[in-house]
Symmetry: C2
Subunit: 274 residues, 2 copies
């Protein structure tokens, strides 16, 4: 459909935002709008400039016959700080305290608006690493994993604690939960992860890291490669961490059940932002 | 930040797409871009025209002092048909057959690209109903529920089969699974659903409807109201349906395990599209 520049800008913006990290040939847009490639290039320059100015991301251009443009979601340090500050405020509210020193986080994980922001933040951090798939474990990490996967434009695979009948043959491993020291099982459908895949592990909470470490071990069973680990909240109250390299947004440094005081700080993510 | 029309169009498109169904006062944009309200109105007219032409949705204008604009995600019948046809093709592949006549759907539910499209389709169908929250049951329906919730700009609540320690006090009900006739339990965190909330139930699969019916009964415990029910796949192989009004995208009419033949048709969603 022939569109004027103003219409093209609106439609291209939507088209690119829906397909982060996907390479789109210039000829695609030229044909879509029945416009010259030079006009499309000008449009893309405007979009790139606005995206960068407004902290939405950037447009990467790959030259050559197999080239095209890619929308790379990015987040500024300032915007990331705003989100993390919000999370810290939210998580330190005394009414989040549950018996056993747990924190109620269901409302935060249930809000697509917050998940979208955190998804873009993680996608920004992991933008340059090879990621073919995002992995998480049922159930709380699922929304976060989806949000990250959306902005990296890759699928999600979900590891489970139980063996569901509707997923066919499964690979299962045993692991030791770092904090409770109990032996547990995690399973993943055999056909859900390809050999050699680059995997980004995303989870909502990490204490000693037993569960995340279990997922890392599961990768070996699939001959898959670890691209990175992102956890929304890490707990400082642990003696021995089973996982070395991970990126956390928030660090839970202490929970005083008696005084109903929760101390939350920013995580280590700042070291991984430009 | 002062922006020219071309920059405004790109930024406004992004801003609106990120906030479906949210009312944004014209003055917000006027201040954001240091532009006259009349220019903003012209920008919005261009965005509206392009959104409608390209099947992205529409821009609704509410007049008056408390007014503003809203981006309402919409999907054309044609685009919906394309998605449903794709789903039918995918689901009828013989290699999806699992022991017991189950279908492997994990890859489809794990792809944010497909989930986004289905999310927009359901949001389009339910656009005019009051929805405060999307409800689903762990775990397979979660990605679909999130996608729908994103396009309706509301939170998600997740009903569980097990009682997780980290969600505080729970409300639990017993229900009879329609197909297996077993008595089961489902639970929902007490503080996750407000009294009187309008709830849209979304699930990935429905046979006799026992699980969905259980969620409807759970709503009564919270004095919440049912806004609608959406199921991705309904199975025809059932004598007695426990749920009357639901909207399905795909209907599984027969599964022949011996001949490895799966027959899939479009669901009843077409009756609910304009």
């Amino acid at each position: 459909m022939k569109l004027r520049r103003s219409g093209r800008l609106v439609d291209m913006t939507h088209y690119l935002l829906e397909r982060p990290h996907q390479l789109i040939p210039l000829t695609f847009f030229a044909e879509r709008y029945e416009s010259a490639k030079s006009s499309i290039s000008e449009d893309l320059a405007i979009i790139k400039q606005t995206f960068e100015q407004q902290g939405i991301g950037t447009i990467k251009t790959l030259p050559g016959a197999a080239g095209g443009v890619q929308y790379i979601p990015k987040m500024s340090k300032q915007e990331a700080e705003e989100i993390v500050t919000y999370l810290c405020e939210q998580l330190s509210r005394p009414d989040r305290l549950l018996p056993g020193g747990y924190l109620y986080m269901t409302d935060i994980l249930g809000d697509p608006r917050i998940m979208n922001k955190i998804g873009r933040l993680y996608a920004s951090i992991f933008a340059d690493r090879p990621v073919d798939v995002v992995m998480t474990i049922a159930t709380k990490g699922i929304p976060l994993a989806y949000a990250v996967a959306h902005f990296l434009y890759v699928p999600v695979v979900i590891v489970r604690h139980d063996n569901k009948v509707t997923e066919g043959s499964m690979v299962s491993i045993n692991y030791v939960s770092g904090s409770s020291k109990r032996i547990q099982t995690m399973v993943l459908a055999k056909r859900s992860l390809a050999e050699g895949a680059n995997v980004l592990i995303i989870d909502d909470f990490m204490k000693a890291g037993g569960t995340v470490n279990g997922m890392v071990n599961l990768l070996n069973e699939f001959n898959a490669k670890l691209s990175g680990i992102g956890v929304l909240v890490e707990s400082e109250e642990t003696k021995e961490r089973l996982v070395d390299e991970y990126i956390s947004l928030v660090r839970l440094s202490s929970v005083d059940v008696k005084e109903k005081q929760i101390t939350v700080k920013a995580g280590n993510y700042t070291h991984f932002m430009e």
